[in-house]
Symmetry: D2
Subunit: 139 residues, 4 copies
């Protein structure tokens, strides 16, 4: 992953049989769901400002851009570690890098970046990330 | 769950954010995927005859019938325990009962039964469950 | 399908490649999604009281029970017709029967029943179906 | 879309209710499934060399990279048109650009690129795209 000033956190997840597609490996779109699951966990556990705490004050995070490289396949029964870290965060949103690593082989399965914007849950429109939020996530 | 001569086993799983639907709870069809994930784990860990070991000798299990009751909702962030146990197994297939239980409240979220048939992976057609398989699963 | 006093309506749908699982046929839980898609369309087109019109007045329909028989497999590239019809509707909810039919062969792929309850979208709790709603759906 | 020497083809698709997530819009990973559905249809209808024809001779296409921009949201009940066109194809694989357009408003919902490699279905390893295949897709 790219070295920068922000921390990288790690979550673990197992492939679920319904993630497997006709090629007998994890379906390509499910990798995005794995990264979402990792961020969801890390928001609470590592940043101390959970998805739910944003929701309670009327905000949510939506994806505005994804670039993802598929390097190797995950298969039925595999466990993975998902590392993510903020690349940049400002009032417009944030960019997060990720790496999905095969637990047994330690090889990189997939990597890339997600860009997020914060939306007002009532209007569905994007809104400014506050200084407090930026601070909580600038670790 | 129904008391009968076969063992009941238990797996744990967490709700993944992509399982959540427009009602802000787990989408109804994902419960079937949770039961599949539990059976997949238990086939290996508890019965000692894994999904992969069936696959290696050319067989797979497919669902022929599901009856499922939705009693309460699972939500984002919830953890569940999934209990399953064989109700009946013979050369034609097997019936499995299940219960999905909310980890924190210990309340039953969903229960029901799955019926499975074994198929030949080359032909896709159903085939007889052998005595050895029935024996391995009659615990 | 069971003959009774209520109409049976029909929707068409194509298998999406992401519906295919490791057995090279449609994954079992996706059939529930197909029935939901058919009901969603028919609520608007055939009953004249759409999902959105319920949502606007603060109500939604959730599944309380599903019984589904898997008789044949749907495969990549297949088109289906989904017939659904109300079996019973009263203030507590409704029961809907369905049949998924393979367009080319005209064979029944799957059939069964869904039971639904109406919930208040603000509280998430079940509530009474009104006489006007029962009337609109009693065709 | 980027103007280049290859044709752009178009498929139509409707949002399925199970595509909707907690934000009441189409879940981000489902857009990848929509593009797959469009390519699957266009391979047969527009290129005359279908997914199945590759499969019959032992080949399949897997995604190696995706870059996707989410510009607007698709919602329950929406219909879309999915335009895709080859940007480059050679013996190593191909790059495909896409645009998902909202049918009613004609606005661009999402765009981006997919990169694909061809794999040998028996070994699961990538293999060379033949001249005949390149020719069929160079339209």
């Amino acid at each position: 992953m790219i070295e920068n000033k922000y921390s990288v956190f790690e979550s673990e997840l197992s492939v679920r049989p319904d993630d497997i597609d006709m090629f007998n490996h994890v379906h390509n779109s499910r990798y995005l769901d794995y990264v979402l699951a990792a961020r969801y966990e890390q928001m609470d556990k590592n940043y101390g400002m959970s998805w739910e705490s944003f929701k309670e004050i009327g905000f949510g995070w939506v994806v505005t851009k994804v670039c993802i490289n598929y390097k190797r396949a995950l298969k039925l029964g595999d466990c993975m570690s998902i590392k993510t870290g903020i690349l940049e965060i400002n009032e417009k949103g944030c960019a997060v890098q990720f790496e999905i690593i095969h637990k047994k082989s330690n090889k990189v399965i997939s990597d890339g970046t997600f860009e997020y914007a914060m939306i007002d849950l009532n209007t569905g429109k994007s809104c400014k990330v506050t200084n407090d939020m930026i601070k909580a996530y600038s670790i």
